[in-house]
């Protein structure tokens, strides 16, 4: 018996975060401020923002124009779709998903939050936590976001009075508890003037915590897809994407490593068929390795000549996933026409797409108190628990254990539009009302 011990793979920090905040709380301005003050923008880009600001008579430099790039967004002064921005400091790189705040763009917000390691939340401190922000925080936490950096914004408009900051702290602390948030930092800021965003401010003497940038630079990264290895009980998952034929015969199986590193010599099972074999070769894009970390695209060879095709999953022996055609799942419904029992939809889960039928809609979520109440249909942007039966068996883990093997989307069979995002199981933070 060989025990292989290897240190966790080192990952150069790449933090993915999503922004959450209600309309007009200053989300886009904050991102603009972060980019300007960390010198991510080129002179011509700043000039273009200045020109657009002047053209619309909104001051010298409206920082929200840095991210609100679509014509309709600038005309209406709102964010419609996720804007992805990139920043790098000497400490790490950032992928920023600047998400829309309006309720009708929930699907876009969920798109941005689904791959986020943390959420950067903007609250207008003069008004306190708003309904829309609460709603989006609920969706983010359902999607697995466990770290929050909260900006108590517009403190300058409230003369930096301590009670304004204190109110945001109290509201967020209470909410964070119900949302199972593991890390919460609340920072008094002015996105407009830059206080405590990148540069520390003397305006709030009662606050001695990190600036927004310092908090972003020190937060754990890679959590969304378990790039750091995740809990010890996680086991190797390799959804097969593509079969590569080798010169001189033989095949290797290509896919992205998930759950835990895959190693040469590892005993594996190919699901759903349940065939056993041993990994004889692992190749990353840089060449053959003894072990490949989570998040790498690899191809692997197996000792036995098995019938493996796209949609199958190669898994480690520990903690086997479930193989099933019957799923209970929590879904967020995006389509304007309601979801009713009996609906036929395609499900895409990892690399397998298969027909499915919604056999039951059991409950609808009230995002205000996270309670589930009986329901028979789901309307646009509603979240609920459903049962579905799939034509082909799926190889799943609960979403709480693995965001990749625990997630799926539902696709309209006629229009091919993605109409729902689904998570296997019922998140522990929800309760029956």
């Amino acid at each position: 018996m060989t025990t292989i011990t290897s240190p966790a793979p080192e990952v150069m920090d790449l933090l993915r975060f999503a922004t959450i905040g209600s309309v007009d709380d200053g989300k886009s301005t904050l991102i603009g401020r972060l980019l300007v003050d960390t010198r991510q923008l080129f002179d011509d880009q700043i000039d273009a923002v200045a020109q657009a600001s002047k053209d619309r008579g909104v001051g010298d430099l409206d920082l929200s124009f840095v991210t609100d790039g679509l014509r309709a967004e600038r005309e209406q002064g709102i964010t419609i779709d996720v804007a992805y921005r990139y920043a790098a400091t000497p400490k790490r790189k950032f992928v920023i998903a600047d998400c829309p705040g309006h309720v009708q763009y929930t699907a876009n917000m969920a798109t941005g939050a689904s791959t986020a390691d943390l959420a950067l939340v903007v609250v207008d401190a003069t008004e306190g936590l708003k309904e829309q922000t609460r709603r989006h925080l609920c969706i983010a936490s359902l999607l697995g976001v466990r770290q929050l950096i909260v900006c108590a914004n517009k403190m300058d408009e409230g003369s930096w009075r301590f009670p304004l900051y204190e109110r945001v702290v109290a509201q967020m602390t209470a909410l964070a508890e119900t949302l199972e948030i593991e890390s919460l930092t609340v920072i008094p800021i002015s996105a407009l003037h830059g206080d405590n965003v990148v540069d520390r401010s003397n305006a709030a003497p009662y606050y001695d915590g990190p600036t927004v940038l310092e908090a972003l630079e020190s937060a754990p990264a890679g959590g969304w897809a378990g790039v750091h290895g995740g809990p010890a009980e996680e086991a190797t998952r390799l959804p097969v994407q593509w079969i590569l034929r080798q010169p001189g015969g033989g095949r290797t199986y290509a896919g992205m490593v998930d759950g835990a590193p895959i190693r040469v010599g590892e005993e594996v099972t190919v699901l759903p068929a349940g065939l056993s074999s041993t990994v004889t070769e692992v190749r990353t894009p840089s060449g053959p390795v003894d072990a490949a970390a989570v998040g790498l695209s690899v191809s692997v060879a197996l000792a036995d000549d098995l019938d493996v095709s796209r949609g199958d999953m190669i898994v480690g022996r520990a903690n086997p996933p479930h193989v099933t055609t019957e799923l209970e799942a929590t879904i967020c419904w995006f389509s304007p026409s309601p979801l009713t029992p009996g609906s036929r939809l395609r499900v895409k889960h990892t690399t397998r797409t298969t027909p499915s039928i919604i056999t039951a809609i059991s409950s609808r979520l009230d995002v205000n108190d996270l309670s589930l109440a009986g329901a028979t249909e789901l309307s646009a942007n509603e979240i609920g628990v459903v049962s579905l039966t799939t034509a082909d068996p799926l190889v799943v883990d609960p979403y709480g254990a693995n965001r990749i093997t625990g997630s799926f989307v539902l696709i309209d069979e006629v229009t091919n539009i993605t109409v729902a995002a689904g998570m296997v199981g019922i998140p522990s933070l929800l309760h029956q009302g």
Partner: protein, 305 residues
């Protein structure tokens, strides 16, 4: 017995590379007739390199297509042809000149810009070959409209992008189903920045056209841009032809792609220059983006890359 393995060093380039390869394989599996768009520029060189890695040791399961404006830098065409020949891959050339000759688009004249005309040539080629997915090398850091675009971006039967009706794209579930006549654009380099591209080119030693590196060239200055004198760019009244030391940050139609003054003659020099540049790559060198603040969004809506 206990074996200790050294830690696998994974940096941000490894993660970007693996994610891009994942996207390329996913689109190749989900779509029936993909094509890889290749301009000869650095981004498409990286894209092609990643596609080759995704399917190694085999050939690409799709052809490569160049939408040719006819206003090319000869160095770029020489590079394209040598590279494709060495790889033994299939190359399709969709020609803007053909579109003009067939009367599909109006001829902007011998000195006119042809970047926008590429849309017609591209969409005609997509229809003719019945492609249902086209990989492109666009990055979200290039432009504010691109920053909003999905990795798999849906195009209707007219080739149009509707930014208000983008498909939700959660986790890494890229779904590529389209009806006949519709197609997808796939952007595996969405999350890469210009600096990432150069660092990756250095690491992988990817070959590029010579115009990316510092060289002497006859230049005229027009609308703040340093345009190379060529068959299609001739000095107008009052413009002076000068020989300057320049390089190009992007590769496009020769009539609207400007150069920058630079002594960067190696990839390492270029990385240093890119890391300290104060002007964006499109701002420095693309006249076609300077017409209005939403120039890229407007072109994308029509079906541009």
């Amino acid at each position: 017995m206990s074996t200790s393995l050294p830690p696998a060093r994974i940096d941000h380039l490894d993660l970007l590379e693996s994610h891009a390869i994942f996207i390329i394989r996913e689109v190749a599996a989900e779509c029936e007739r993909p094509v890889l768009l290749f301009s000869g520029g650095k981004d498409s060189a990286v894209l092609l390199h990643l596609a080759l890695k995704a399917f190694a040791p085999g050939k690409l399961p799709f052809p490569v297509m160049h939408v040719d404006t006819g206003h090319n830098f000869p160095e770029v065409i020489a590079y394209r042809d040598a590279l494709i020949e060495r790889l033994g891959e299939r190359l399709i050339v969709a020609s803007v000149q053909d579109s003009i000759d067939k009367g599909r688009v109006a001829d902007p004249g011998p000195f006119g810009m042809r970047n926008r005309l590429q849309t017609t040539a591209l969409l005609d080629a997509i229809n003719e070959h019945r492609f249902d997915a086209a990989f492109g090398g666009a990055r979200r850091d290039e432009d504010k409209a691109r920053a909003k675009e999905r990795v798999l971006s849906f195009r209707d039967a007219f080739g149009q992008w509707d930014p208000r009706k983008q498909r939700p794209e959660l986790w890494q579930l890229y779904q590529g189903k389209v009806a006949a006549g519709e197609h997808l654009r796939g952007f595996p380099l969405s999350d890469w920045t210009e600096l990432d591209i150069w660092q990756y080119i250095a690491r992988e030693q990817i070959e590029l056209p010579s115009i990316y590196f510092s060289h002497q060239r006859e230049i005229i200055e027009r609308d703040g841009m340093l345009l190379a004198v060529s068959e299609w760019v001739q000095p107008r009244e009052g413009e002076v032809v000068e020989t300057r030391t320049v390089r190009f940050r992007t590769v496009g139609d020769a009539t609207c792609t400007g150069s920058v003054e630079s002594h960067a003659s190696t990839i390492e020099d270029i990385i240093t220059e890119t890391a300290t540049s104060t002007v964006s790559e499109r701002g420095a060198t693309r006249a076609d983006d300077k017409f209005s603040e939403t120039a890229m969004e407007d072109r994308k809506r029509e079906g541009y890359f």
